[in-house]
Symmetry: C2
Subunit: 593 residues, 2 copies
């Protein structure tokens, strides 16, 4: 099994030349993000990921989280690692200094998140859930709630969870049945929640559950769901930890992957009702949830990228050292990376991973601009771009992650199927990412139903105009390789534009048919966006001085060219699926399926 | 978790109208295969698969095979199932009646194999390995070896194994180091073998290992490998079981899937040398292995089909009963199969599985014709077609199986990630099929290096001419749907022909570049062949009277149309990968990868 080494040169290049971190650091409120600090954060995070988190990944997978008499224990070593994580301040990176955060850009936080998730996906989920809780309370909590919970959540002394899903209420949160009965200044919460990541564990002193529930007089459906903060330990009069709340973990799920992270069935109120505190106003819970959705979905896109990076490092190392057969034109036994077919798999892994990183960091840049840009118009433009790209980033990166992890297994041959090697774990771990935080089907619906239709494609068309500009710049270089990349980008952009126009035209009269093409449209969007950003990095590597190692500019051109020749051609087929495939998706009656 | 029901109507349709089972049954030597017998075999196999094998699949996955003091135990119930399997005569279906076989067509045997593998992939591997041993000895064993081993292997009383791989010798069998020292009329075998499926177990009275090893004076490489039969129990003078041979299972691998099948590290000769008997002549072991390769690789293609079918049945059942959200235009909660995106996934699963079945049975038909056709010319044509299609069937079906099993997980949402549901097991089990019996990269090399180049594309071009004929027949129907299928088939065929011509032209001067496109070429070939065969079934369903249920003809047209609109468009992109993608696969120097 190969360890993890953060690809720092590559990360810095993308942060600087794709996400524009220097500009972002200059935004109001990001004064802390000096180049020196950014550098130190990346270097130290890389060390922590490699030395502390990565070594726990495989043992954690084997041991798994366990439950005994309602007590959930994480695998050996994880608690110590979490304590180091909190002590080093890693949890507080992007949060408001008002609550003890470091106020650093999300773009930087995303790069750091990538390292946590590459090193140890199961571990990284705990701070991620806490992050969601922080965002909800920062945005919607009362001053008292903020003062009490946020400082501890920001440091990570306390952990957060999201309690949304119930057996009958997965994608459809309107079906939530957990009840909340008012009782003085709090509520009594009664109900069962499932799939609660880190719902119970031994890492933090307290666990702060954000729970969706329904008050007795609430309207039906999503408009009757309220949000409650329900701590494992109730507040004591002195501000410390009071008595245990009436909630418990009933059982842990046996999962395909991320074994070290407990996925809990949670019971609230078995003994009269858990005490919960309303966040904001009644019946606005779903609306509040949406405020942290962009970040949460971006973070799952980061996870896709992160697992892909880890799988790629593992496969590359194996392909370099595994000797088998002779290479064409070579003499004597050759490492398998000399075999053209293995090289195709490696280049696919590398190039898609790079494209994913570019897309993730680019999207994070939009998030920072949407939050912090001094000009309202630019904030708004960034917000629209961000919201357009969020489902694409989540969906495309996580689907590609599964594909890349599978290629990683394949490169190992028989060894890939043996758990000891490690490649299989990435294959299993990656598989959750297209599912949680909104399945990729839901991302595709969000992209078409909301993000495309709400402004009649304006944001999408602005995005497409940007692609055309890059295509022209590439053509202007006079370089043959750049011209080939430009042609492929042009063809991909044509496909995206054609599919977009068809969706805009067809949706008003035949939404069902357009939604039958939503998933291929998301895939098309991600493919073209990924290829575009790799083309941008090739331009950046060519024109502007790369910040990293000397080989980086050449590598950028290789990757962009590989993408242009081998991945972008699929854009046209995806556009056909969108525009001409829907009828045959829908043709068979239900009973014939 | 959903059980398994063999899709008998669909299987019969494909057997009759795609593989031409009636013609095959009329071939010399297949006199036993009357319509009544075929029918009884299919019906009984379906029952055995559903009632005996399928219920053991999930418990077997959980318990796994275990080793204690060198004794390997299969999960509870498997031994009894195997005994029933043997008692019912299932093991002997396709073998020579001379050795106790039933002499039935391989085409029928393949359909039956599909049911075993759908019901319980891990179980099905044991008879499959025995089958390989039977074929080797039928073809190359001495009369004494045949008389002693074959009757017991044919019934399944004894099981067979293939001992090929060693740590340094996976794909490259020329690197085998296991030694064989002559000693009178036998040899002493010393060495270690890995990845030995069912290398040791408690199902059969004896285990007959087919072992590749090297004699002291053998030439280097693949031309110095000999094949030995090395039984777990040596023959006694009375023809029964004698003393235990000097071989043992050292350990079992912990694998991603197929947990119920023991994958063994085998040690031969720890105490002086295991006694082995030469099969055929020295140094011809690899050549002998190739005689059973077509069947073995076809069987792995069957496995891909089989797991896909099981995953599809599971996902369809879930999508029918899981209620979540409202369907567009519907009122009230809807089963998720009404959601267009879920329906796209289901149609993809269904259509690809049907295309795989058509390809597998069609290839099996070529195998029977190559073995049994009375005319030498037709035998030879069938052999060339068979050998061309074997790598395509193995590679395409197993890659698609992973994709389909992944869609199956996705349709379940969060439940798909929970092992209890069963979908995750198919995802894990399927993953071995692109790896073993020659990785899919090796299949692609075989397709381009050998099967295409050896006759300068003659067999491929004959195949392509058949596609053109179907295209024309579809056009002649005057039916609009058929015309759309014809257009897609035409475009796919163009792509296949163009890629084939480019490979034929380029290979002599730049083999490395062509081999960089070998995997996409295999994928292209499989895609076009699968779409063609579905188009054939649409024609068959249209013109000829379908043998099955009345809805089958409509369903055939739906599937062919879905494939035409949604899958065939990718053929063009795959052709670009083949013809224009190779340079950027090879561009990066080794150290930059």
């Amino acid at each position: 099994m190969t360890g993890y080494t953060a690809p720092l040169a590559e990360m810095r290049f993308i942060l600087e030349d794709v996400a524009g971190l220097a500009d972002i650091a200059a935004l109001p409120g990001y004064g802390e993000a000096t180049p020196e600090l950014v550098d130190a954060v990346l270097t130290e995070a890389a060390r922590f990921a490699a030395e502390v988190l990565a070594p726990l990944n495989r043992p954690g997978d084997i041991a798994g989280a366990v439950i005994e008499n309602g007590v959930v224990r994480t695998p050996e070593g994880v608690k110590q690692a979490y304590e180091q994580f909190v002590a080093a301040g890693w949890n507080s990176l992007p949060f408001d200094p008002k609550f003890g955060g470091q106020g650093l850009p999300w773009t930087l936080a995303v790069a750091v998140q990538e390292m946590w998730a590459s090193a140890n996906l199961a571990f990284s989920l705990c701070p991620l859930l806490t992050q969601a809780g922080v965002e909800l309370l920062q945005e919607h909590g009362s001053p008292q709630q903020q003062a009490y919970y946020l400082p501890r959540l920001v440091t990570g002394e306390w952990a957060g969870t999201m309690n949304l899903t119930e057996p009958q209420a997965g994608t459809d949160l309107g079906a939530v049945r957990t009840r909340a009965m008012r009782e003085g200044n709090h509520y009594r919460i009664v109900g069962q929640k499932i799939f609660i990541t880190y719902g119970e564990h031994d890492l933090a002193d307290n666990i702060v559950h954000m729970v969706l529930a329904r008050t007795p007089d609430a309207p039906a459906g999503v408009k009757g769901i309220s949000l409650f903060v329900v701590p494992k330990y109730l507040p004591a009069a002195d501000g410390g930890l009071g008595p245990r709340n009436d909630l418990r973990c009933v059982s842990l799920e046996k999962k395909l992957g991320i074994h070290a992270s407990p996925t809990c069935v949670m019971a609230f109120g078995d003994n009269g009702g858990a005490i919960g505190y309303l966040v904001g106003e009644e019946n606005r819970g779903i609306e509040y949830m949406f405020t942290m959705m962009n970040n949460a979905r971006l973070s799952v896109g980061v996870q896709g990228l992160a697992v892909a990076e880890r799988a790629w490092q593992q496969a590359r190392a194996y392909a370099r050292q595994r000797v088998q057969g002779r290479a064409i034109g070579g003499s004597g036994p050759a490492p398998i990376l000399r075999h053209p077919d293995v090289r195709r798999m490696l280049m696919t892994m590398r190039t898609l991973t790079e494209a994913m990183r570019a897309l993730v960091y680019f999207t994070a840049g939009a998030l920072d601009r949407a939050k912090r840009h001094p000009e309202a118009e630019e904030r708004e433009r960034s917000r629209l771009l961000l919201e357009l790209l969020i489902p694409v980033t989540k969906g495309w990166c996580t689907d590609r992650a599964c594909e890349i992890a599978s290629l990683g297994v394949q490169i190992h041959g028989g060894m890939g199927f043996i758990e000891e090697t490690g490649a299989a774990q990435y294959y299993r771990d990656a598989r959750i990412t297209p599912i949680y935080e909104g399945t990729n089907g839901i991302q595709a619906l969000d992209l078409v139903n909301r993000k495309l239709m709400r402004d009649e494609g304006a944001a999408a068309m602005r995005f497409i105009a940007g692609l055309r500009q890059t295509e022209a710049e590439l053509g202007d270089t006079g370089d043959e390789g750049a011209a080939a990349i430009a042609r492929a980008l042009g063809a991909g952009t044509d496909a995206l534009q054609q599919a977009t126009e068809w969706l805009l035209k067809t949706y008003p009269t035949d939404a069902r048919r357009t939604l039958a093409g939503a998933s291929p449209y998301l895939n098309l969007f991600g493919t073209v966006a990924g290829g575009w950003l790799l083309a941008e990095t090739a331009l950046a590597g060519r024109g502007r001085a790369p910040s990293g190692e000397p080989g980086l500019a050449t590598a950028r051109m290789q990757s962009a060219r590989f993408f242009a020749d081998n991945i972008m051609p699929f854009a046209a087929a995806l556009a056909v699926q969108v525009t001409a495939g829907g009828d045959s998706v829908l043709a068979a009656p239900d009973d014939d399926l």
